[in-house]
Amino acid sequence: MADQLYLENIDEFVTDQNKIVTYKWLSYTLGVHVNQAKQMLYDYVERKRKENSGAQLHVTYLVSGSLIQNGHSCHKVAVVREDKLEAVKSKLAVTASIHVYSIQKAMLKDSGPLFNTDYDILKSNLQNCSKFSAIQCAAAVPRAPAESSSSEKFEQSNLQVSSETPANHELTTNGHSPPTSKQILQQPKGIMGMFASKAVSKTQDVNKETKTETKEVTNVSSVGNKAPGKGNVMSNFFGKAAMNKLKVNLDSEQAVKEEKTVEQPPVSVTEPKLAVPTGLKKSSKKAEPVKMQQKEKKSNRGKRVELSDDETKETENMKKKRRRIKLPESDSSEDEVIADSPGDYEAESPSPPPPPSPPPEPVPKTEPEPPSIKSSSGEKRKRKRVLKSKTFVDEEGCIVTEKVYESESCTDSEEELKMKTSSIHRPSTMTVKKEPKEERKGPKKGTAALGKANRQVSITGFFQRK
């Protein structure tokens, strides 16, 4: 039988990737019946224990049976650690089932991580959640007409979620438990807030950057297009979607980067969030010399692409960042890169008008673009409206301060801030970067990260102007 194969698989999950392997996770990942997954885990533990190499393995069991409690015969289902197994079993009047629930290297303090592991894998297999279970229900047939509509709804909801709160969506997809994502949503300020609003700020930044820099835009777009493809490749490589993790993606990304161009700062790899601002700065620096006019057209495209990327995943974002980093390094090759990216666009999606030179770089996958474009355009309008209102308030003067707060909290007040604070911020931004584009970036970051800082900045800027 396929003993070796699954044993190797489990070994890789448990020891190499240091995962918590629950029977359900294994069942979904390998596509086997749940009972078979339980048996695999048991077999793996037994073998490891025989080899004496399983000492560091921690196993949890599921025990169920009847328990006399308060005079009732209660059916008890418990997940227990191995050391408590016998004690629990001895308490059960009748033992109905015992099987391995999970294997992990680390000692689990509580069973919360088990739920999180199951939840993550379940989320990605919601539509066939009972595929490998031992009970099939003939009556549970999807409603024929309702199904399509419901699925559409679901997709729509996803789109909405992604567009509204991309960070949240990413978090959930990456497998964080929902409560954490909720918290992030509720606390959009501070460092977490910065990350949460990262996507928005990015897109805005990218727009301006792209205006200034054709290269960046093109690069970003190409990255975005490629990103999903890479993910697929990676997943295929490992054989299951569940296996592609951040690490893997990062590695793959690194490899890609190396292939394409130059060096990549390891810092960015380790800490993607931090890498974002740095990458932006660098890119902006590069972009300075580039021409504005061409870039504006491209910038629109760039925006769209960026939005789509945000929707897809964090990992992709990370990839983008890295690429940007690359770009600064290869200033001489910027033109080439730019050319490549538009070429990709044309080949992939005819909808966006391809800008300048189409030097052919092979970028294979560009499926999600059209929907992303629509959504992006919608978002754009929204933001612009907000901006106008803000500018209006500013022109009025400092009388209505509350309104200013609201507009800023929306993080849409890029243009305003630019207008106001361009003079003020320049010194600070100038230290980092010496170009007007960079200035814009600075205020944007501020808006995204700290609302308070923005307010102060805007007010001070107002006074300084006068």
């Binding site: 359900k24 009972n35 078979q36 409690q69 418990a78 089932s97």
Partner: protein, 568 residues
């Protein structure tokens, strides 16, 4: 990997549920006697790791071997089953020992503490043969809130009077005089049918709060509002009279329709000698089913409550029902769970935070209602369940639907994933259905917890029984519990007696069989709040026995062991 899949698909055999009972006598094999079939395991272990190219063939060969051995193991069980059926001993065996879920689940040999087997059993969900949702009286058509609540009391008394008259004659003899309040003569012994009103000094009153606002601290919330000074008043269509005598004011609540026997005193009060309730409604005979089928009652999932500890329990519950967890025996038993009823409070009380109302708008502009995430999670849970079993979802006190009873079904738009399955049914809060001839009636618990607050009865099961006896689901409904202003009829009156009567969100599990005067037999179930007790209830449709099923992880070690009775 391909080989694995090959085995999974090639080896699975569909089995019907009847097999459990067939193997009823099989001794459960205990761990660590794990392997019922040593031959198979040795075969699996001795197999040398062949080169990958040859693996496919090998897998198939071993497939065949494993299947053979399995069949061999089963055959004695089959032979025995034939004998049982012939001897007629089967039925007895079923009723005596296998009514409970646990016993059924333990009937099979353990198979999961062994190397992977080629064939893994897949069980077909046992369907109910007939299902009939009879909650129509609780559906609101037009909703007009312009009416007074007086109508509901009037129609309640009108509907209940015949029941009480006959019950009074049965109780006190046919010769008893039944009069209206306006016909009473001082000193004349007679029987009066009327609606109770309990004047309670502690009852929260918005009018009093407003009028005494100047120097009054807000009343502290209490768990019970009963007081020794509580006064009972009996009302009929025209007038009211104070009650005294042998009638326990603390136990009764406003809105109860009852018959009192006594006479008017010179003081103008009615001296009660005895009283009686309408007692149980007539009941249709319970069906005789020949197979065990279960209905799972769960209440108070409490999603979005912030406490992540209960989530594992919820997931375990879902996994048991959907056949993921447990050994084959357990999965086979779980396949007999033919319906799941979620009795309210799917979301936690915490999702109803009013922060957005009190806080400045710019502070809450970006915050999302807490119920949004919770409903999403609920959708996923319902999807898992409804992909495997029919589910009825009742709303509860904290769920996003109307607050007043009867609560209308949750809107399907909230569950874009789960509504894809026709097995998901969103139902009203008092929910009434006939499942395989067994009449279920239940609420999410508001009626019982409200009576708990305004009477001296402590046990939710006792209150449940009491509402059955007064023949009204929620007597306090328009008074202290939100209720739609009905005027043509009162849908909360029992017109017929259910076989299973449950209420959700009780502090602890409880169940008992209650027998009525006309030999009605009702299973009363207090379905505990799952988020705090991690307990649900399994009702066996055939025997009308109820067994709690509880779940635990190993989060808080001591607690958990205490729950298992391990702590000294």
């Amino acid at each position: 990997m391909t080989r694995l899949r090959l085995r999974a698909s090639g080896g699975s055999a569909v089995r019907t549920g009847t097999e459990t009972r067939v193997r009823a006598e099989a001794q459960p094999v205990r761990f660590p006697n794990t392997n019922p079939n040593p031959k198979r395991s040795s075969a699996a272990r001795d197999r040398s790791p062949g080169p990958a190219s040859a693996g496919g063939q090998k897998a198939q060969v071993s497939d065949g071997r494993a299947r053979e051995s399995r069949v061999g193991r089963e055959s004695p069980g089959r032979a025995r089953s034939g004998g049982e059926a012939g001897g007629g001993a089967r039925r007895d065996l079923d009723t005596s020992s296998t009514a409970m879920f646990s016993e059924q689940a333990a009937q099979r040999a353990h198979t999961l503490l062994s190397p992977p087997s080629a064939s893994n059993a897949t069980f077909a969900r046992v369907p109910v043969s007939t299902y009939n949702n009879s909650s129509q009286p609780f559906r609101l058509g037009e909703r007009s809130f312009s009416r007074q609540y007086a109508h509901i009391y009037a129609t309640r008394l009108l509907q209940m009077r015949p029941f009480l008259v006959s019950r009074a004659q049965q109780h006190w003899g046919d010769g008893v005089q039944i009069k209206k309040l306006c016909e009473l003569q001082p000193g004349e012994k007679c029987c009066v049918v009327g609606t109770l009103f309990k004047a309670m000094p502690l009852q929260p009153s918005i009018l009093r709060e407003i009028s005494e606002e100047h120097n009054l601290l807000p009343q502290p919330p209490r768990s019970k509002y009963i007081h020794p000074d509580d006064q009972l008043v009996l009302e009929d269509e025209l007038q009211r009279i104070k009650l005294e005598g042998s009638i326990d004011a603390s136990k009764l609540v406003t809105g109860t329709v009852l018959a009192v026997l006594g006479s008017v005193r010179d003081s103008g009060k009615f001296l009660v000698e005895d009283h009686c309730f309408a007692e149980l409604a007539p009941q249709k005979p319970a069906p005789t089913l020949d197979t065990d089928r279960f209905v799972l009652l769960v209440s108070g999932l409490g999603l979005g409550g912030g406490g992540g500890e209960s989530l594992l329990g919820t997931q375990l519950l879902v996994d048991v029902v959907t056949g993921q967890l447990g050994d084959e025996g357990e999965q086979c038993s779980a396949a007999h769970v033919s319906r799941v009823i979620l009795a309210g409070n799917l979301l936690s009380h915490n999702t109803q935070s009013r922060d957005s109302i009190n806080k400045a708008k710019y502070l809450t502009k970006k915050t999302q209602a807490a119920s949004v995430e919770a409903v999403k999670m609920l959708d996923e849970i319902l999807l898992q369940l409804s992909a495997s079993v029919p589910v009825d979802v009742m709303p509860g006190e904290f769920d996003p639907t109307n607050y007043t009873l009867p609560q209308q079904p949750l809107h399907p738009c909230m569950f874009p994933l789960a509504t894809a399955y026709s097995t998901l049914q969103l139902v009203t809060n008092p929910y009434q259905a006939t499942i395989d001839g067994v009449r279920f009636l239940g609420t999410s618990g508001q009626n019982v917890s409200d009576i708990f607050r305004y009477s001296s009865m402590e046990d939710h099961l006792e209150i449940l029984e009491w509402t059955l006896r007064i023949r009204h689901i929620s007597p306090t409904a328009p008074d202290t519990l939100g209720c739609y202003p009905f005027y043509k009829n009162d849908p909360f009156i029992f017109l017929d007696c259910p076989h299973v009567y449950f209420c959700g969100n009780t502090p602890q599990f409880g169940s008992k069989i209650f027998r009525g005067p006309e030999d009605q037999r009702v299973l009363l179930v207090a379905v505990p709040d799952f988020s705090t007790t991690q307990t649900a209830c399994l009702v066996n449709l055939r025997s009308l026995a109820c067994q709690p099923i509880s779940f635990s992880g190993f989060g808080a070690e001591d607690e958990d062991l205490g729950g298992l009775g391990l702590s000294p």
